[in-house]
Amino acid sequence: MTHRIEVNVETGVTTQVEYTAEEQAAYDAAVAQQAAEQAAAEEAARLEAQPPAQG
């Protein structure tokens, strides 16, 4: 599970807070969207780098 680190400055206690199911779903969706955008950018760069077709 994804988590955040939380430091309570009054007590000095540091805890690892696991994402709730809702937070995890939003996180997974954001990661998937970033991967899709990255793939699209790489594909666009690949097509742009191809030499023009002869003929």
């Binding site: 994804t2 988590h3 955040r4 680190i5 430091v7 309570n8 400055v9 690892q16 954001a30 970033q34």
Partner: protein, 179 residues
């Protein structure tokens, strides 16, 4: 006249404020998508955030700072950041209203070190200024940033995260001073 207070780590006045500078607890930024400092006292007027060798695991996002009252707030930020480096000589980050950007990482082996200072300018109005250094094999950089944000109530927390919100921290440590 000289007044000496002996035998106490701090001095608290009637408002509950502690005179002098109080150090938070340093935390290793070696996991998680964000590092939150919570329960910051309401009398605080200045917070110094210190990053030492902070790094993220995968992408190359900007490290960011958010503040809030009761919860971390993701609107109303006014500010931006820029950097001086050797390639190119200078770069400008886009203006975001969702967070303060406090330094960009060029590749995932980069680390970020430096200081961000939040100052209370008025009724829940905070200003930000600071610099961080990005260590990078061929393109080290100095980041500088500034901005302002009005929290919905007395600031009681801040968050160090990344602009994409999905990267995880994998190195370094973070601490705050407050006064």
């Amino acid at each position: 006249m000289t007044t000496t207070i002996d035998g106490s780590a701090s001095v608290t006045i009637n408002s509950g404020a502690i005179l002098g500078i109080t150090s938070g607890t340093a935390v290793a930024s070696t996991s998680g998508t964000s590092i939150d400092f919570t329960s910051i006292p309401s009398w605080v007027k200045r917070i110094t955030v210190m990053l030492i060798g902070v790094s993220t695991s995968t992408n190359v996002p900007n490290v960011s700072l958010q503040i809030g009252s009761g919860s971390v707030e993701a609107t109303g930020y006014v500010g931006s950041s820029a950097r001086i480096t050797n390639t190119p000589a200078a770069a400008w980050d886009s203006v975001l209203t969702t967070m303060f950007q406090i330094g960009g990482l060029n590749v995932n082996t980069d680390t970020l070190s430096g200081t961000a200072i939040l100052s209370l300018a008025g009724s829940n109005i905070w200003t930000l200024t600071g610099n961080t250094f990005r260590s990078s094999g061929t393109t080290p950089a100095i980041n500088f940033f500034s901005g302002t944000k009005t929290t919905s109530g007395a600031l009681d927390r801040l968050r160090i995260t990344t602009t994409n919100g999905t990267d995880t921290f994998d190195a370094g440590s973070i601490n705050i001073l407050y006064e």
